[in-house]
């Protein structure tokens, strides 16, 4: 079975089509100036003019009860604008919820193609998946206690999904291997670690020490997730490399003997 790291018929570069490549290279002038940095291009001015006129992507929804919101803000958030905290809570909630789906997709791939020596076990993947789900529920509870609506999509939640859209694409593509899917997952896990770290600071600033403690535990778990995923990916890559090198040696031996 072909592995994605095998040499094949990739046709994207010039060297695989030397005749056509010679032709198209005739269109490249021998002398032309270096590329202008992007921010100095005319297109940057269009971008700037749109930025100047732009409105925000969206806003944080008001708490369900304005009275409750005032109380919440006063008693629980010690003068901080609650919407900043709610926005980032919404982001974590959405990210953890999507994280469960990412691991669901990885588990499906695992059940189909299996693992490798030093790769993840099903239990390990499932355990992380359950922790993502627990984190989702923890943030849901936190938002409810603060009078925020955990069913809403806050601006940071929306943008975090835009940022990680490619991760789901890479994982759910039937053609990607388990190591490739885990590589995509690593992006999400690394971002998640930093997301929790910032949320801890926000909770502490808001005087939410209980929540900050909960978030610290989640942060530790996410660091463990990121470490494990990174090790699996690194192990898979070095395993592939070792296999290729030993394969090459096997191929070389008969000729050299």
């Amino acid at each position: 079975m072909t592995r994605p790291t095998d040499t094949g018929t990739n046709r994207t570069g010039l060297d695989t089509a030397p005749v056509q490549a010679r032709e198209i290279l005739q269109t490249v002038p021998e002398q032309h100036s270096e590329a202008v940095p992007g921010e100095q291009l005319e297109m940057a001015r269009i971008r700037q003019s749109y930025m100047q006129d732009a409105e925000v992507i969206g806003t944080v929804p008001p708490p369900a009860s304005m009275k409750g919101a005032a109380t919440t803000a006063k008693e629980m958030l010690k003068g901080n604008k609650p919407s900043v905290f709610i926005d980032k809570l919404g982001e974590r909630l959405a990210f953890e919820r999507s994280g469960v789906r990412l691991y669901d997709a990885v588990l499906t791939k695992f059940d189909t193609v299996g693992s490798w020596d030093g790769g993840p076990s099903r239990e390990e993947l499932n355990h992380i998946r359950d922790e993502e789900l627990a984190h989702f529920k923890m943030v849901t509870d936190a938002m409810e206690r603060l009078g925020a609506d955990p069913t809403s999509m806050t601006p940071s939640a929306d943008l975090a999904a835009v940022e990680s859209a490619g991760v789901m694409q890479a994982i759910t593509d039937p053609r990607t291997s388990l190591p490739e899917a885990l590589h995509a997952l690593l992006i999400a896990e690394r971002a998640d670690v930093d997301g929790w770290s910032m949320l801890i600071d926000l909770a502490e600033n808001a005087g939410q020490t209980g929540l900050a403690d909960d978030f610290r535990k989640a942060h530790q778990r996410e660091e463990e997730h990121a470490r494990k995923v990174k090790n699996w990916v690194a192990g898979a890559i070095s395993g592939d490399m070792a296999r290729q090198l030993s394969g090459e040696q096997e191929q070389r031996s008969p000729r050299s003997s």
Binding site: G13, T27, H32, G38, M43, I46, Q169, D173
Partner: protein, 391 residues
């Protein structure tokens, strides 16, 4: 041996069906498949889309044909699904756009060379030089927004240099209408060519209108808005070369023949065996549909449909690089524009005529296609790479 579409009956219509699994096959490889496999996939999506579009319009105007149209159209819809789902999910909409322009260039170039009518060949060359410019503009966008080399998609088959600048392609609607072929005297291949290119351009217009708003970057949104407008002009141009005096049934028959011709062309040249088998199956389906419509035509119009169809299917569309032809046309005809249905040198158009006036207004805040490609020179590995010597 050439295909005889009158004798070959294909798959009977009532045996043409799919499972959902069949409709969603494994995609082609963006990296490993030949660029012309993707060209064929995109072209055939456009051909099927046009088949569905035409049949809906026909049904809205012909109560008595609604039943047969519904039956054939359902299969066409599913054929389009199967074909379009061959595109792979690791291609961004902008990469697919680059591929759409490669289709527009290479297929129109092929058609321009096989077209026996000199005026219509000129129409195709005229449109081709505009799409050629679009490839350059979108390649600049791909490089400058996504940091990618468009030639990874086009695989060195198609030059990435300026054509007729998009900025001057904007014309008054009346300058996009052309003379049409005569249904009684035109060669069969002329009719197939016209439907093929009209279909390809119409799907391109629709694709840009769908994907344009998904870009966050304002420059990309502007560029899609601008080039979609040219594609609308191209649809206007290409639909006007088709004889409007053809009956609805005559047009339906020609649509079916065009589908068969295009699948035949694909099947003849496909080097991916899995995709070749799909083209073969689709060709058999189209032949079945063609004969289904031929029977209706006989019943309703009391004429022999064979009189209108080529007995042997014409030489296949040449799916290959037409670099030399494109370069020659570029050097000779880049300065052309249109006044009404005629092509003239752009310097012969006065500034107060309709198209310059039209352009002047639309470009008043700047032409996105000129801005995005300002100073852009394609080179392998993007404009950020070190220049590579010809070897």
């Amino acid at each position: 041996m050439a295909l005889n579409i009158i004798d070959e009956k294909g798959t009977p219509l009532d045996q043409q069906r799919f499972t959902w699994r069949e409709l969603t096959p494994a995609p082609i490889s963006k990296l490993d498949d030949d660029a012309f496999t993707r060209v064929r996939v995109i072209l055939m999506n456009g051909i099927e889309q046009e088949a569905v579009r035409f049949q809906h319009a026909c049904a809205r105007m012909n109560k008595e044909l609604q039943g047969p149209l519904a039956r054939v159209r359902r299969v066409d819809h599913h054929q389009q699904t199967l074909v379009n789902w061959l595109l792979s999910p690791d291609e961004t909409p902008l990469e697919v756009t680059v591929a759409y322009e490669q289709v527009a260039i290479e297929v129109t170039a092929a058609v321009a060379q096989q077209e026996p009518d000199d005026y219509l060949a000129q129409v195709y060359r005229f449109g081709m030089l505009e799409d050629f410019d679009h490839l350059y503009r979108y390649s600049a966008l791909l490089d400058r927004v996504e940091g990618k080399d468009a030639n990874n998609i086009t695989q060195s088959y198609t030059d990435i240099t300026p054509g007729r600048p998009t900025e001057v392609e904007h014309r008054d609607p009346m300058d996009d209408l052309r003379h049409h072929y005569d249904r009684d005297t035109a060669a069969a291949i002329t009719k197939l060519n016209a439907l093929t290119i009209m279909a390809a351009e119409h799907q391109t217009r629709d694709y840009y209108m769908n994907v344009g708003p998904i870009f966050a970057d304002p420059v990309a949104r502007q560029l899609y808005a601008e080039i979609a407008s040219i594609e609308e002009q191209h649809v206007t141009q290409y639909e006007s070369i088709i004889d409007p005096g053809e009956s609805w049934l005559e047009k339906w028959l020609l649509h079916e023949a065009t589908e068969a011709y295009c699948y035949y062309s694909c099947m003849q040249q496909e080097d991916n065996p899995r995709i070749k088998a799909i083209w073969e199956r689709m060709l058999d389906y189209e032949l079945g549909q063609l004969h289904f419509v031929m029977d209706i035509y006989k019943d309703v119009e009391k004429r022999d449909p064979a009189d209108m169809l080529p007995r042997e299917i014409p030489e296949p569309i040449a799916f290959k690089s037409h670099r030399e032809f494109v370069r020659r046309v570029l050097s000779q005809e880049v300065g052309l524009t249109a006044r009404g249905a005629d092509f003239v040198q752009s310097q012969d158009i006065a500034p107060d005529e309709a198209s310059p006036q039209y352009r002047e207004y639309y470009n008043r805040d700047g032409s996105p296609s000129s801005i995005v490609a300002d100073g852009y020179i394609w080179q392998p590995g993007t404009e950020l790479a070190e220049r590579r010597a010809v070897h």
